[in-house]
Amino acid sequence: MSDTSSVLRIVWIYPDLLSTYGDQGNALILRRRAEQRGIRTEILHVHSSDPVPAEGDVYLLGGGEDRPQILAANRLRADGGLKRAAERGAAVLAVCAGYQIVGQSYGDDDDNPLPGVGILDIHSGRGETRAVGEIVADVAPELGGGRITGFENHQGRTTLGPTATPLSRTVAGIGNDGSTEGAYQGQVLGTYLHGPALPRNPQLADLLLRMRVGELPPLPPSWGEALHEERLAAAL
């Protein structure tokens, strides 16, 4: 948490543009898992007409259709707040369209490359086919490992530059390219597991929280763990 505040600030970026697949779920689960451990939280909804504060702890970017995605990328680049926050060491979780635009470049609907926010060393373009369905992947061991489950619905194909590392290895589904899924660089995490990626994967929520508050006491199992197991069993 920031030095001046005892509250964990969760910043949801552009719910008016990037909130297509239940993206609110990530903010709600972060809040719940923090508060169950006695950490006070605050969720800030930052609309596309407002400046992005640089003092947040965890920044969330969701999915969006093609045109809102371009609008969001342009506004974030002009605003600069997200980039400053990432440079300060804030944690970032960007999913789906949000994942693409935090990268160096992404493709518009004709696959022309457009510049992204540039806090994750990835380049995204359009694939031949749309990736739609359940996805399962194994998280990089240095991030704690474990299996994650989600739903993907995108036409993007993403390649990683030298500074970014795959978030996970694809077990079922496509992800970046059929072999890796998502990327991370420092405390910036990106994934094609769209919408409520954290509700379905409590360990990812805790990973983001640990980046800001350090070690966390374990929580008793909840419906989140039950859903996690159920979805893994259904997809494999």
Binding site: S19, G22, G25, E65, L71, F151, G195, S222, A226, L227
Partner: protein, 418 residues
């Protein structure tokens, strides 16, 4: 029927036979299978069956089956009306509906959002009725901004008269593509898909509701001549006359549907004094809002297929003492992705007795746990009725909100209730 070329006539007859067969063998409503057979014989059949008729198309994300029913009912004033009343809303269903009613000069067809442009072109419809657009089954549906653009372009290519909800920015923007329009202020409860200007992407100014305006390009809500007054349960017509609604169907969403139906009927020259009594009679549409009495408990069925639909359903729930069952599946007609559950605010259910059911009840359980809504897990409606009855004998009502296939399963348990 006699004006149709022979091949089309044959196709229509074949289609009709298959539909009766499907009904007779209990395989369904018969609305889709008939059209599927017919389409194989004559691809232009829809255009040919439309010739010589006056057709109204009804499309929206939510409420299209109900509004189609309301409009068809109002137009009975003019004679027989062909309509796809079982919600088979793709071209095969339209063909079946028209083929089954060869003598009806009027037709009111519910149209799936994606199919609207091509059905509009094939039928050369006189009237197009549009209510709302919001996120729905994103794993297979088109992006709604794209959809609105296609509606707008298709309307611009015809002389169709559009009757549309001015309060939904995406719908209004699409409707502004038409050459003739009647605007209805029908309200918009779910706003999460229309914070941005459909024209330029600017952040819409939406104050005071239901007004909306883009500060960047100047695009604004068209002036409405009809409006719903939910507070006073009434509709105000273009002559400023106020009509108390008193619908049998519950809720603001059905007030909106009724206002749209009255405005549409007026476009056909049917005054509100004649259309409204016909709308008031309708109590249930394809099983929606139906009540089934079982073990002395009245179980009411509400269909909610997407976040906007759930929001509307919550608003018509009985008082908090009445328990509610939520049931969610994720089969192909529902969409395989349950992410949308996180777009719904379930905290309004706090203080009620809540049960979760359906193939994806674990998703529902986590969603409710996160919103701090206590709940119980159940397998069947009848189990819940028995449990509630045993524990609280004075409970006489129960609401069920379910998404598409979950709703159909429950409806089938009660013998396909209407």
């Amino acid at each position: 029927m006699s004006e149709l070329p022979l091949r089309a006539q044959l196709a229509a007859v074949v289609g009709k036979g298959a539909a009766s067969l499907s009904r007779a063998t209990g395989r369904g409503d018969g609305s889709v299978i008939g059209g599927k057979v017919a389409l194989k014989v004559e691809p232009d059949l829809l255009a040919q069956l439309s010739r010589g008729r006056r057709i109204a198309l009804v499309s929206a994300t939510n409420g299209k089956t109900t509004t189609t029913r309301l409009i068809a009912s109002a137009l009975q004033e003019l004679g027989p009306v062909a309509t796809n009343e079982h919600g088979a809303n793709m071209p095969t269903g339209h063909i079946t509906a028209l083929a089954n009613q060869p003598d009806a000069r009027e037709a009111v067809l519910e149209v799936d959002e994606k199919y609207l442009p091509r059905v509009l072109e094939a039928t050369n419809a006189a009237v197009v009725v549009l209510m709302n657009l919001s996120r729905d089954q994103m794993d297979r549906a088109s992006e709604i901004n794209l959809l609105a653009k296609k509606w707008r372009d298709a309307l611009g290519r015809t002389q169709a008269h559009v009757v549309a909800n001015a309060d939904d920015p995406l719908v209004a923007w699409a409707g502004l593509g038409a050459n003739y329009a009647t605007w209805v202020s029908a309200g918009q409860r779910w706003k999460e898909d229309s914070w941005c200007c459909p024209e330029c992407g600017g952040h819409l100014k939406r104050d005071p509701d239901p007004h909306w305006e883009c500060p960047e390009c100047g695009m604004r809500r068209p002036d409405a001549t009809w409006s719903v007054d939910n507070e006073n349960d009434s509709v105000v017509d273009p002559g400023e006359q106020r009509w108390p609604l008193r619908m049998s169907l519950p809720g603001d969403a059905n007030r909106a549907n009724a206002a749209i139906a009255m405005a549409t009927a007026a476009a056909y020259g049917i005054p509100a004094a004649q259309s409204l009594p016909r709308l008031q009679e309708i109590r249930s549409v394809a099983g929606r809002y139906t009540s089934v009495v079982t073990d002395g408990v009245e179980v009411r069925l509400l269909l909610a297929k997407n976040p906007a639909g759930w929001l509307e359903s919550f608003s018509v729930l009985d008082p908090p003492r009445v328990p509610v069952i939520l049931s969610v599946n994720a089969q192909i007609p529902d969409g395989k992705d349950t992410s949308w559950l996180w777009d719904v605010d379930y905290s309004v259910l706090r203080g009620r007795r809540v049960f979760v059911m359906g193939e994806r009840r674990t998703d529902l359980a986590l969603r409710l746990e996160t919103d701090e809504v206590p709940f119980e897990v159940a397998d069947r409606v009848s189990d819940v009725v028995a449990k509630v009855k045993a524990e609280s004998p004075d409970i006489t009502k129960l609401d069920v909100i379910a998404n598409y296939t979950a709703f159909q399963q429950i409806r089938a348990d009660y013998g396909r209730v209407e």
